[in-house]
């Protein structure tokens, strides 16, 4: 004997199963004919003699704008000399380099410090420009300054970064720890 409640439950389950199947079919966008062994002819199919078929397809390619810059190593600038009677001698460091790839036009490189150096200390930088661009020696601060302008369609490596560190006579010796700042170079639109 089938209990009425159980009969009702079985009926509900069957109804739910059919609803689920309908949903699956709808979601997959398939109709029973899609399962046929022979697919319908493609819209661009060109019938040829015999059993040959020629197909055409559109391939779309694109190149997005790419601006990449990389910098080598960290830098230490030791200020340790002076002529008697004159301020401390500035020190120039030319050991680091940068590389860049630009497939756009009229780009520039700006530079900045994360925080200012203490009063009396100054760091300037000059970048070797890639071919076709121009560079200017600038004192770095927390406000970005233009270092290289007119960068166009270039991929170049081993471009020089020349720093010059200067300290006034009023700057107390720092010890070997020195005073560090992060210099950021940004490749951006002019």
């Amino acid at each position: 004997m089938v209990h009425p409640q159980r009969y009702k439950t079985v009926g509900l389950a069957a109804w739910a199963l059919s609803l689920f199947s309908a949903c699956v079919v709808a979601l997959l966008g398939l109709s029973p004919s899609a399962w046929a062994q022979t697919p319908p002819p493609l819209p661009d199919a060109i019938p040829l003699a015999g059993n040959q078929v020629s197909l055409s397809q559109t391939v779309t390619v694109r190149v997005l704008e790419i601006n990449r810059i990389a910098i080598s190593g960290d830098v230490l600038i030791p200020i340790a000399e002076a002529e008697a009677g004159t301020p401390l001698s500035p020190v120039t460091h030319s050991g680091s380099t940068y590389a860049l790839t630009v497939n756009g036009s009229d780009k520039k490189i700006v530079g900045s410090l994360d925080t200012e150096f203490p009063a009396g200390m100054e760091l300037s930088v000059e970048l070797t420009p890639p071919p076709g661009a121009t560079a200017t020696r600038r004192i770095l601060s927390s406000d970005p300054v233009d270092l290289v302008k007119g960068v166009n369609l270039i991929a170049a490596t081993n471009l020089g970064i020349t720093y010059t560190g200067h300290a006034d006579i009023t700057v107390a010796p720092t010890g070997t720890a020195g005073i560090s700042r992060r210099v950021t170079f940004t490749l951006t639109s002019n």
């Binding site: 340790a80 002529e83 006579i169 720092t174 560090s180 951006t188």
Partner: protein
Amino acid sequence: MNRTLRAFALAMFVALGVSHVAFAQTDTEGHTVTMEVAAINVLAITGDVTLTIDQATPGSDPDPVSGSASYAVTTNESAKKITAEIDTNLPANMSLVVDAAAPLGATGSTDVALTETASDVVTGMSTIAASGLALNYTFSATAAAGKLVSTGYTVTYTITN
């Protein structure tokens, strides 16, 4: 279904993230620059000095003679001083003294007799770069000292604490 949707969402997220990096309009790179300032104390002296005693007022000891040179100094430290000493003491009854002009903020001592023991000629010197500061020498000899053939002495100046 949920698993498929999550996989699709993850794939889109990764694809979008990668394209954002690869095709960024602006790229930024940084490195650390460290400036190190050493303790710097340098001193320079301009010119040698020749002092010849050859005059006297009758009845008095020979007249002292004076000569001058100059010095330059740079220090980025505080409370420094300059001392002076001579390589060999002068013979008896002879003296060589020096007056050193002090740079701004420091104090110069007057008529410091030069001996083999270092003596302070400038004190209280801090974070200064100065040049053309006078070094005035005075050489004296009594009649009892007698004559002295030309003799070179080396006066050494030192910046110290």
